[in-house]
Amino acid sequence: MSDRESMFMLVQGLLVGTMFSASNIYMWVSMKRIENAERFFPAMKFGFVLIVISATIWFTPRRFFATMLPEPSMNPDMVLPDNLAFLALMISKNTAAFCLVTVTFINYIFYTIATKTGKVHYGKVNPLGPYVLIFLGFADIWLMSWMGTIRSLSRMNWHVYKVFKDVTPEKFAPSLAESGFHVTTLVWTFFILMTAIIWVGIKYPKTKKKEIEPTQAAPQMAE
């Protein structure tokens, strides 16, 4: 069903863009508590412009319908003209990915230099930071689930290729909206389970503090 999954790949691109953006916003928030780090901010803002441009390129599809050829009820004009099609090719996507990684790396270098040359006010981070991190975690898990969905939907056979063909009614790729809703439900389930596990772990710790016994002298070897 690979030709039904171009829009799935588009969403994947969007998620990757979101992840890089969130990582860089977290670095920005962290740098705000470092003295003298503001000298990097204009350059970092330019990096954010590059991130938005790269994410746009990654998201740009060759066609805005979900199949290789337009099907009934689809608009056949939703295709990039041939002279602009390069924006949808791997060469452009790779450049965009390279740009995202490079900007993040440059921002990380700024962060490292700032921590070494300025005073860090520990404990004074903007509370927005942890929530950006949580958002990043949510986006990561969502992306992993989404990639699993793509893998699962692209198969037409069960695990033994060419031996056991999938003939179930579910063999078709569900629509994007349906998949998006299911993946979100799964990620919520995962987060609720993880929260429950952590909560139980905190509430009922495995080991209790033992009273420290006074150390005894080690037995001497008989001479």
């Binding site: 204009p42 938005v52 746009t56 060759r62 979900a66 689809m74 440059i106 509370p127 998006g180």
Partner: protein, 419 residues
């Protein structure tokens, strides 16, 4: 700054520039250089501590700027002929940028005072992520699963009771069901350039056995221009298992219809294509056909009249050496004033396949495969336009449209039988 950092940075910058140059040429390298200079200049700015802004301040200062930028993007994208949906996409991303910059300059959040505060914020974070992801997936174009399922549940093609156009239509169905459009265009249809456009390549000129072999054993012979390792592995090798005998017959029948009576076949990847006029291998094979030594066209010898070295051996035979020669006036209602050097592809094809009445120029298209006649034409041209003296290749013709293909049929440009 330590010298080793400078050296490592310099190497990284130069490597990046070289990568951009080798991928996108001078434009890429210049863009990379511009980015580096911008970074360097911005690092020189003596920046004050950033002013944090409230939501309303952010909207007041940044929204008008964003609207101006978005308007500029809209106009610019329109100038470059981006369809409206892409214009909407680019403008949407401009507003994503607005959101980013508003967030970067936003006021520091208040510290949570109670458990309720952080639970509220945590749930809001999850809700924000969920809303974005569900919203985006719901708004992007969808396909109809019912339509999809109905297609999958169709029984395989059986040829019994089918004939002519029905077999071709069944072959088209096989082509679609096996997702050949994922990589191949057929004239104007499809939008992937991963493999050759089977229409402009005119795969229908080739023998049925050859086409079948290309489907079953695609690694045996690569299409010209697709010799890179990635392309060599691109075409799956499982179609022998997936496509039944009847389906294969239907598919080949459909592929045999892919011919263009108005243009030379086109080879190569999109962006670096060429026509057979400029293909030295084709011209070499065309020479064999022209001189009557090609095993596939036994009985055809153009050199008998037009001369092996281009000097006509028979009165009235076209002298291919003179680029200013004119078209024959012996065909009533079919004459062009264009000189030989300006002959369009379809005139070459028509003159060779249909011949000139009452002359030894027979309608060779009724006797020999057109695959070879196109090649002979590519060679004949070299008498007045030698390959080694061409400064540039002939332009690749525009991809025929749906209307063009319909015209070929209504104007009866195809011969019957079509060899």
């Amino acid at each position: 700054m330590k010298i080793d950092f400078i050296i490592v940075g310099l190497i990284a910058a130069l490597s990046g520039l070289y990568a951009l140059y080798s991928t996108f040429g001078v434009v890429g390298a210049c863009a990379g250089l511009a980015v580096m200079i911008t970074y360097a200049l911005l690092l020189k700015i003596k920046s004050k501590k950033p002013q944090e802004k409230t939501l309303s301040q952010n909207i007041r200062f940044k929204l008008p700027i964003t609207i101006v930028i978005a308007g500029g993007i809209w106009v610019l994208a329109g100038k470059f002929n981006f369809p409206i949906w892409w214009q909407i996409e680019f403008v949407s991303f401009a507003f994503v940028g607005f959101f980013f910059f508003a967030l970067l300059d936003s006021k520091t959040l208040k510290i949570e005072k109670s458990n309720f505060d952080w639970i509220k914020r945590l749930l809001a974070t999850y809700a924000l992520a969920s809303t974005i992801f569900i919203g985006v997936t719901a708004q992007l174009p969808q396909f109809d699963p019912e339509f999809e399922l109905a297609k999958l549940n169709k029984p395989p093609v059986k040829l019994s009771g089918l004939a002519g156009p029905e077999v071709i239509a069944a072959g088209r169905e096989v082509f679609e069901n096996n997702k050949c459009f994922n990589c191949h265009k057929v004239f104007w249809e499809g939008n992937s350039d991963r493999g050759p456009n089977l229409g402009t390549k005119q795969i229908g000129l080739y023998a049925e056995d050859y086409i079948k072999e290309q489907i079953l054993d695609p690694r045996k012979k690569q299409s010209p221009g697709f010799d890179d390792p990635k392309s060599k592995k691109a075409m799956p090798t499982y179609y022998g298992d997936d496509i039944g005998d009847d389906e294969m017959v239907a598919l080949v029948s459909y592929l045999k219809t892919m011919r263009d009576p108005t243009h030379m076949p086109v080879e190569g990847k999109f962006g670096s294509q060429w026509t057979w006029w400029d293909d030295k291998d084709i011209v070499a094979e065309g020479q064999q056909v022209f001189e009557g030594v090609h095993p596939a066209t036994e009985g055809l010898n153009c050199a008998v009249c037009h001369g092996k070295d281009g000097v006509p051996m028979m009165t009235g035979a076209l002298d291919f050496r003179n680029e200013n020669n004119s078209d024959t006036d012996k065909i009533e209602g079919d004459h062009t004033d264009k000189l030989l050097k300006d002959w369009p592809d379809d005139l070459w094809y028509r003159r060779v396949t249909r011949g000139v009445p009452n002359t030894p120029m027979a309608p060779w298209g009724m006797i020999f495969g057109h695959l070879y006649l196109w090649k002979a034409e590519a060679y004949a041209r070299t008498f007045h336009d030698p390959l080694d003296k061409r400064t540039e290749k002939r332009p690749v013709p525009p991809v025929p449209t749906k209307e063009d293909v319909a015209n070929w049929k209504t104007k009866e440009l195809f011969l019957d039988p079509l060899l």
